[in-house]
Symmetry: C3
Subunit: 354 residues, 3 copies
Amino acid sequence: MSQPVPKDALADEHTPFIRNAWYVACFSEDVPPNRPFGRKLLGENVAFYRKSDGTVVAMKDRCPHRSFPLSASRVDGDEIVCGYHGIRYDSAGRCKLVPTQAAAPRALQVPTFKVIETAPVVWIWMGDPTIAERTPLPPAPWMLDGSGWATSRSYLNVQASYVFLHENLLDLSHLTYLHAATFGTPDYAKAPFETELGSETIVVRRTVQPTRLPPIYANPLNMQGVDAARIVTSTYFTPGLSVSAVVLRNLEEPQDRRTDHHIRTAQLVTPCDPTSVHYHFIVARDFAVEDKEASEFILKGIQAAFAEDVFALENIARVRREDPDQSFVEKSISSDRAGVTLRRRLSSLAEQEQ
Amino acid sequence: MSQPVPKDALADEHTPFIRNAWYVACFSEDVPPNRPFGRKLLGENVAFYRKSDGTVVAMKDRCPHRSFPLSASRVDGDEIVCGYHGIRYDSAGRCKLVPTQAAAPRALQVPTFKVIETAPVVWIWMGDPTIAERTPLPPAPWMLDGSGWATSRSYLNVQASYVFLHENLLDLSHLTYLHAATFGTPDYAKAPFETELGSETIVVRRTVQPTRLPPIYANPLNMQGVDAARIVTSTYFTPGLSVSAVVLRNLEEPQDRRTDHHIRTAQLVTPCDPTSVHYHFIVARDFAVEDKEASEFILKGIQAAFAEDVFALENIARVRREDPDQSFVEKSISSDRAGVTLRRRLSSLAEQEQ
Amino acid sequence: MSQPVPKDALADEHTPFIRNAWYVACFSEDVPPNRPFGRKLLGENVAFYRKSDGTVVAMKDRCPHRSFPLSASRVDGDEIVCGYHGIRYDSAGRCKLVPTQAAAPRALQVPTFKVIETAPVVWIWMGDPTIAERTPLPPAPWMLDGSGWATSRSYLNVQASYVFLHENLLDLSHLTYLHAATFGTPDYAKAPFETELGSETIVVRRTVQPTRLPPIYANPLNMQGVDAARIVTSTYFTPGLSVSAVVLRNLEEPQDRRTDHHIRTAQLVTPCDPTSVHYHFIVARDFAVEDKEASEFILKGIQAAFAEDVFALENIARVRREDPDQSFVEKSISSDRAGVTLRRRLSSLAEQEQ
């Protein structure tokens, strides 16, 4: 994991994690008021709990005394009490009490991590805290509670490197094939697309029109069997966020009465360890906002399609891992430009952080 | 796996595979007409499919673009279409189409393997193809469909090196002990036997007479409780085939009216990885040829006995793997001559191929 | 496992096993009269069987011929007959018969281990046998059959190094926290305690008085809700034995009529491999000796409490194993004096044995 990163290398499961980035650690409800929560993030076990004012705290999930997991411990007010010997730590990880002795030793100090909650998600920064201060959260306000958009959300643990999940999310040419049974359509792969390489973002935009919408979109919009436009923009923002934004338009309506319907997915990508990834996603739309059934229908459709991605990503990870020829080099095609750029940037970021 | 092989070493789970040999990859029915099939052979994942004329094709089970398994892809006519991005390959592994671009890059080339189907088995050659051309398939015509012999077949995946399966198959002195409950008899271990070391083959022949046949043979032949002869010849042909040939004779019939009954097992041994083996076997006989019940009875008996071999081989693999003394050297006895010769030859073949 | 042991190091899962010590291999009933028994001890597979006079024999669980496990073989009188080829060994591990040949080769020799049975346990010595002769069994006569004490016993396989189980057993300050739901009481952690470092033994004694006894003690003694004394002495004797001895006293009885009630647990600790331990325990008491229900009630209570220890030890092992910072050094507190001394001694013993 910590070999030197060659120039121009494409990031893969061997590339060190990018630590200076905001990642979604968990959904807000994963950290209840009175109980800690544990999760492995960027290879490291982290414990979360809420102080009495509701603020989320994150620290290394290892009591420095005898390594009991703090995530299996007890929350008491603003402090966490190790479940093995009752040693207490405050939200800054400082030891406040060792029950068997008078003094609380300063050496018993738990490293903490900067966290910000923007419900329904909790973000964590596991790199240099001074850089965190000048780094804003990735921009996806429509996914947040109270945004006015209808949202639904889910979580998958995928046994594959986060790098390949990101590459998959920037690559829409696979919809016709991998997602033939869900939201892919036959005309998708050959539709025109453009790639924009920004200094931070990477954008792929594909316009499919006229097309027939798959049921996941057609049904809630009552657009079955009509000529429609489907414009999909995939944007990589940071190692922790990619956004899939879809615009849907009924081409059979008179041009002056056409409405753009928007449906967006916040793809919240967080490395768990080198070969697995926490995949949170929030689907938001600006139409049929009060329609709970539509929310459920769309979420089920998205889950079915993402299960196909999980199948692909986990099988690819297995194929890569099992090949006795570990020097095998994958070949890229022209539609990989966005993904290859992304992987080159991740590799370069990792090199800078080392 | 790739350490230099010392002279006179006995092959074991650390010996490199012998690549220049025909191995049974699978049964014919494992590769249906319209769907690919994947299997790990000699440590490498291989995808199989049938062209429209029924010919079986074998290639590396990894799309060279993004490593999706071709065995999880779609067959279309004579081509295979990667399930991830729809890239098409012909039966020679050449890329014919990338949906998102005009040209099919020559760099997208999947390595293929030579295969020959002699139903009910599919053979594969994973070594130098020029040697394949001058190497005939191992000889066991009686096991094939239409041979006139009654056959039945089965498959086991055994968690042990193929080397120890081969050694087990050449070693009949274990029948009295390991197979006491199935087809071993108490007189078996002490019966006279001879070993013939040919330039290619290794033969062990054991004559047990007069003896009482175990039910697996006595019942279908109506030879319960009679004095019989049981002559068993085990022949190692290649790293992929060993044959157990049994002659059964009723010694209570007048000498001029005695018939030799034959029952043979094609032991089709194919390394999966260093510590597991694909074990296909086909049992064939020239008596009671139309008797389906006899076929089932004999197959069940063979399966019960081979389950004892699997128990032994997997436990031995565990014992070898778990011993903290990894320099432990097993001691051989006089009846191991055939097996030791076989293992020395496998070791020497592996050395030549490196 | 075999790195040099630094001076003053604390033993942990990486420290080599202490071989020159008596360990409980199994309970007497684990070795029935006519069938061998196999168990991994100190990283090595060992086979046990009883000779016709009932004496227990222990030897390496690997036939020197082809590595079949002797624990899966057959006992015949005083000998063991390998289940693969029928090779016979006597109780000194000497080959007595190879069925397929006239002579029994002297090279076929199975290493044996010294064992002593003091029912209900079988002790094994896996180090230098000359040291075994001058080393008595660890002293816990009250745990033996026929001692006059009421006993009950159980076994756990714990996925943690035996070192941390020993440390846990010498450390009683965790009762208030880890065992809050079972036999811990709130006043336990802060009760006065003393540590005695003998040349061999390490003793921690804690006096909690007046206190209320937890149900596990109060119920069988009818001491619910009364002021009581609870004096607990934890003594480390050898790498294979630690004893928890409890004295219980009703402080509401007149001083001249008070009885000391004793309950002791023999903590029989035997490394399985570096990261797992065989944990046999025998609970003995000198009160309500004929009360079978009390025995069952106490054993169930002990099992519930030890399940909490297993939870802690296995989670700690996971936390230690998964931390990417493998140079993390745990900090000790004043109540760790006994445990730290023990771990320093184990480390030093291991160094001497290398």
